[in-house]
């Protein structure tokens, strides 16, 4: 084989690889698997994965800037919370560009209002539950916190109520007429879509340079977390992985695909966290949120209702915002502001703080062994019931 031929074979392989990674969506179960693995890697590197904490940091920073808060928050540039969420947004933005899916997508007025209300409610719920569907549920459950289970129950209740509202809206509110779709293309106009993959490559190269710059500033940990966040963003955007679907779909379409992926993902993550905590490599109290049970349960309900309105969970709203959806960009901004304010409110009152709850670390009550057994049983039940519902449609709420 001559050189030219070999080169074209290589080029063909690269092209095929690009198409597989960025032109087709990845299966949901793969997303669950990869999120589970990344969750453990992120904790082993520095700390558990979270989303709402970063949004709160941005809200705190904004309120400090306009003079409402007098204490200065940790700079968003070095706060680990902020960097993880920034990475998620960055990764989703890059992946959307690579797959030619980035576009500023305007939504009809009613949808924008739902973005405002949904984002605000999610912010309040996350402040109560010690995190969104990630920090308050996914990472908390991985961290063997009982609060994670309480929030799971709350999320189901909230998602159910939210779905009832959406059905009501479909019947009673003039269905949001088309908000039109992005810019209308003119003939012979410059086609942005063709350039997007090149911009995507640039976006990722800049990310790597930033991580390297952090290392130069002796902030290697932060730089690594930025890359972890970006990995979450790419995985989640390519799978269109949305936790809302794990809680809403069993009632809406009966599909259990996402519920199964979340169950598998959590099993991986729980094992990794348990290994890191049990061996003493990481503190036992990490991500055992001080929210059991009131904060987790009620926060879960409020958050669950909000995520149905905005059409994205904490992580889901952020990646969709990275894809250019105006409704979700608005939801994320409202999330930042409301979660910052509500957290300040909770902190300002001792009574409120104690009402929210206390830390309950499962192994303190059950031992590590039995805590793992119990959590695995719960997740197996989630997996099986979602699959059973897929066959029987038992939980479906009809329009």
């Amino acid at each position: 084989m001559n050189d030219q031929n070999e080169n074209s074979v290589m080029f063909g392989l690269l092209k095929q690889g690009y198409q597989t990674v960025f032109m087709k969506n990845w299966p949901i179960w793969l997303g669950g698997l990869l999120i589970g693995i990344m969750s453990v890697i992120t904790f082993a590197w520095a700390r558990p994965w979270g989303v709402a904490g970063g949004l709160r940091n941005w809200g705190d920073w904004f309120f400090n800037l306009v003079g409402i808060y007098h204490h200065q928050p940790v700079s968003p540039l070095i706060s680990t919370n902020s960097i993880l969420t920034l990475g998620l947004l960055w990764g989703a933005f890059g992946a959307a560009l690579m797959s030619k899916q980035f576009a500023i997508r305007m939504a009809p007025p009613l949808e924008l209002i739902k973005g405002v209300v949904g984002g605000t409610l999610m912010g309040i719920g996350a402040a109560m539950a010690g995190g969104c569907n990630v920090g308050g549920f996914y990472s908390a459950l991985s961290a063997l916190s009982f609060g994670g289970l309480a929030m799971m129950v709350g999320l189901f209740v909230g998602a159910y109520l939210g779905l009832r509202y959406i059905y009501w809206e479909l019947e009673h509110l003039p269905s949001g007429a088309s908000g039109g779709s992005g810019a209308k293309k003119k003939k012979n106009a410059f086609n942005w879509l063709d350039v997007e993959p090149y911009l995507g490559v640039a976006v990722f190269i800049i990310a790597i340079i930033c991580a390297w710059l952090y290392t130069r500033q002796a902030l290697t940990k932060i730089g690594g977390l930025l890359l972890c966040g970006i990995a979450f963003g790419v995985i989640i955007q390519r799978c269109r992985f949305c936790f809302v679907r794990g809680f809403r779909d069993p009632f809406m379409t009966g599909e259990g695909e996402v519920a199964r992926a979340i169950a598998i993902s959590l099993m991986i993550s729980i094992l990794g966290f348990a290994a890191l905590k049990w061996t003493g490599l990481r503190g036992e109290e990490v991500y055992v949120t001080q929210t059991f049970w009131f904060g987790s349960l009620v926060g879960g309900i409020v958050f669950g209702f909000g995520m149905l309105l905005s059409g994205g969970c904490g992580s889901g709203s952020v990646w969709r915002a990275g894809e250019g959806q105006v409704k979700l960009i608005i939801a994320v901004i409202c999330f930042c502001l409301s979660t910052s304010l509500f957290k300040a409110l909770i902190k300002s009152s001792e009574g409120f703080t104690s009402l929210i709850g206390s830390r309950v670390f499962l192994p303190n009550y059950l031992s590590y062994k039995w805590a793992l057994v119990v959590l695995f049983l719960v997740l197996c039940a989630y997996y099986l019931i979602a699959t059973w519902n897929e066959e029987t449609d038992k939980f479906i709420v009809e329009i």
């Binding site: 969506n25 899916q101 576009a103 997508r105 305007m106 939504a107 009809p108 949808e111 959406i166 059905y167 479909l170 269905s175 949001g176 007429a177 088309s178 908000g179 039109g180 779709s181 992005g182 810019a183 209308k184 293309k185 269109r240 949305c242 809403r248 809406m252 379409t253 009966g254 599909e255 059409g311 994205g312 969709r320 894809e323 959806q325 409704k327 979700l328 329009i399």
Partner: protein, 79 residues
């Protein structure tokens, strides 16, 4: 193959995001009769996964999709 389809109904979901296009489709399909074809206009990339999934689960035939000027047209044939 999707070029010469004449739909019985057209549902405009442009600008809407998950789960609204799917729910509106579900509602519209409920009012149509067997064998009819519905065309759905959408801008949310998620719809490309949701609609075929919805069709498979409910026994409708997913006829395909085509790109238009900044949006996608999807076709479903009801069972």
């Amino acid at each position: 193959m999707v070029d010469d389809i004449t739909p019985d109904e057209t549902l405009d979901c442009r600008g809407l995001s998950c789960p609204m296009p799917l729910l509106k489709t579900k509602k519209a399909v409920g009012k149509m009769s067997s064998g009819q074809i519905i065309e759905i206009l959408g801008t949310d990339p998620g719809t490309k996964n949701d609609l075929p999934g919805f069709a498979t689960k409910n026994g409708h035939e997913y006829l395909g999709e085509k790109e238009d000027d900044g949006f996608t047209r999807f076709y479903l044939k009801l069972k």
